[in-house]
Symmetry: C2
Subunit: 320 residues, 2 copies
DNA sequence: ATTTGAACTGAAACGCGTTTCATACGCTAT
DNA sequence: ATAGCGTATGAAACGCGTTTCAGTTCAAAT
């Protein structure tokens, strides 16, 4: 394999000049530029990225940690990041963790070992003090509220989104309101829990553990929850559902069992996915694309810590 | 930042010895090993991966090109690869192309620039002659039948799968059989087309262009196809559907419009996803996990070209 | 005529590990 | 006694670009 010194020799110039031509620096005579270009083509020379990375100390690669990729929420988020990455001439490496700490650590270690210029954590498994140890190795951006000046962050205001949806249901006359989400202890889930508790208290409603469901990620899960709902004695009359896929699964099962939506059961989804539009599911639109872009931009600013909160909007359709 | 020479100085040894300790080479005295380890901990030293990559000429990273990640077919495939990668102590970088050639080229270029040790193309946009140019830069593994000795490959025998499904429908008495897939010109789609044409010819059936549908990738697409089907005058009575999500979308719409499945319309999905089980969709199981593992193993063998064909099995449920 | 500075070029240092080669010690086999 | 081998260690070369610094040339400004 040819390297830059070979090219220099062939073109009859110094390596500096070759490097200048390769990087489109000014101050190279037309004549030498031509000579270098000829040598490059003739030998089919191309740079060794590892050498460049080592030399410059940068990689132009940003890591992105997500629990799943085959999930519309994270899919949209990543889509936004990709758009931005393309604009800023950076690459993205996706880390799918399935919420496993070790996988998350792999990503963090790649930052530590200088294989990444920055890292975006769309979900976080690692505990705060351990995360802090990685602070020095490069910008880490979070998709959750941190309220500290340590990391940049962009996030959906899940408290607001949940409150909004709960009030909406309350105003429509529903009183037995519950929700189903993925995990009980995620950062977002805690916010939702808080919004739910505050809502109950404000409106003098009692908490009923039968109204909350966990382990919901996709269509099938919704279907299973619906079946569970059918068997319950004390049923909620309205549910907030972590995403539209799940809601679609519920609607499907309910239709099959002739449950009247929204009269017997009202549903509000999240994400405003195409399937929600198609199945006429009332949902909450999340500005995930913009959020993704924002997250990416923050990852490129090692020295500037910022926090952005995104607001959501309710889209009324047929399931409430 | 400390480097290996700093450590050497602190520990009072040579860089070679430090390197030996770091890489668990034999022939280091207990005494010096201890000294190095102390220095490493004391300074919080860690290796610079870019230097290692440059020095060794390897990265232990395999690139994987997929059109989408939020797609169960590719999701499963990648899952299989990840398992294998973990075992073999390698990393995977995922490239989502959305079938865009430029994105695919990015991946190929990373191979060229030595950022990857190998590349797995789960979908291919680039034309054969151009792909050949990348041959020299490292192992490229394809997920399609190549029948050449140039690249390793592992693939589903889509011809067999389609034939199997078509015969099954024929035996059940269906004659107006069609199918819906994603793209018209993908490598897999061509195989399917061929199987379809051969099937028609063998059984003396006539080709009807109204029986084939394109642009199907997920749930909503299936829903739309079903609506289209409802409006058709000349309807197929049975359909092979590129994946179970799409089939589920069709079932949903059909139920809503009181179409009797399987009597008015029979469906066979692909992938045997959870949703197919849940909605009792007859489907074809694809050994994607194993295929993913196989693909990955092939990517680690630069010098050994091999080709593996995977067979499928029909799972009978309620939609035929 | 002289100063100033922009345009151009190359030598050498630098980023940081890995690996080869030479050397040295101590012990065993002949 | 000595060849031979395993153990242990370091100097130096190597992988390959980028960047700094010093130096040259030639034209414009004073």
């Amino acid at each position: 394999m040819t390297n830059i010194r070979d090219i220099a020799k062939i073109a009859g110039v110094s390596v500096s000049t070759v490097s200048r031509v390769l990087n489109h620096h000014p101050y190279v005579s037309e004549e030498k530029r031509r000579a270098v270009e000829t040598a490059v083509i003739q030998t089919n020379y191309h740079q060794n990225m590892n050498a460049i990375h080592l030399s410059t100390g940068k990689t132009n690669i940003i890591g992105v940690v997500v629990p799943f990729t085959n999930h519309p929420y994270f899919g949209k988020l990543v889509e936004g990041m990709m758009e931005q990455a393309e604009q800023d001439n950076h690459k993205i490496i996706l880390f799918q963790t399935n919420y496993r700490l070790e996988r998350e650590r792999e990503a963090l270690d790649m930052l530590k070992y200088k294989q990444l210029d920055g890292l975006i954590l769309c979900s976080r498994e690692i505990d705060w003090p351990f995360l802090l140890e990685y602070r020095e190795y490069g910008p880490i951006v979070l998709a959750e509220k941190t309220s500290q000046q340590t990391f940049s962050a962009s996030y959906i205001d899940h408290y607001q989104a949940f409150s909004q949806a709960l009030s909406f249901l309350y105003d429509k006359g529903y009183r037995k309101i519950g929700y189903c989400v993925g995990r009980q202890n995620g950062a977002n889930s805690k916010q939702r829990w808080q919004a739910y508790q505050d809502f109950l208290k404000e409106n003098g409603l009692e908490y009923n553990r039968d109204y909350t469901y966990y382990g919901c990620y996709q269509f099938e899960d919704g279907a299973h929850i619906a079946l569970k709902w059918l068997e319950q004695k004390n049923r909620p009359e309205a549910l907030l559902v972590a995403n539209d896929q799940i809601a679609a699964g519920m609607v499907t099962v309910c239709r099959k069992h002739h449950v009247d939506i929204p009269h017997q059961l009202a549903l509000i989804g999240f994400d405003n996915q195409p399937i929600a539009n198609f199945m006429e599911i009332t949902t909450i639109d999340l500005p995930l694309l913009q959020m993704g872009q924002q997250l990416f931009q923050q990852a490129l600013q090692p020295d500037h810590i910022s926090e952005h909160q995104f607001v959501t909007s309710l889209i009324e359709r047929q399931t409430v």
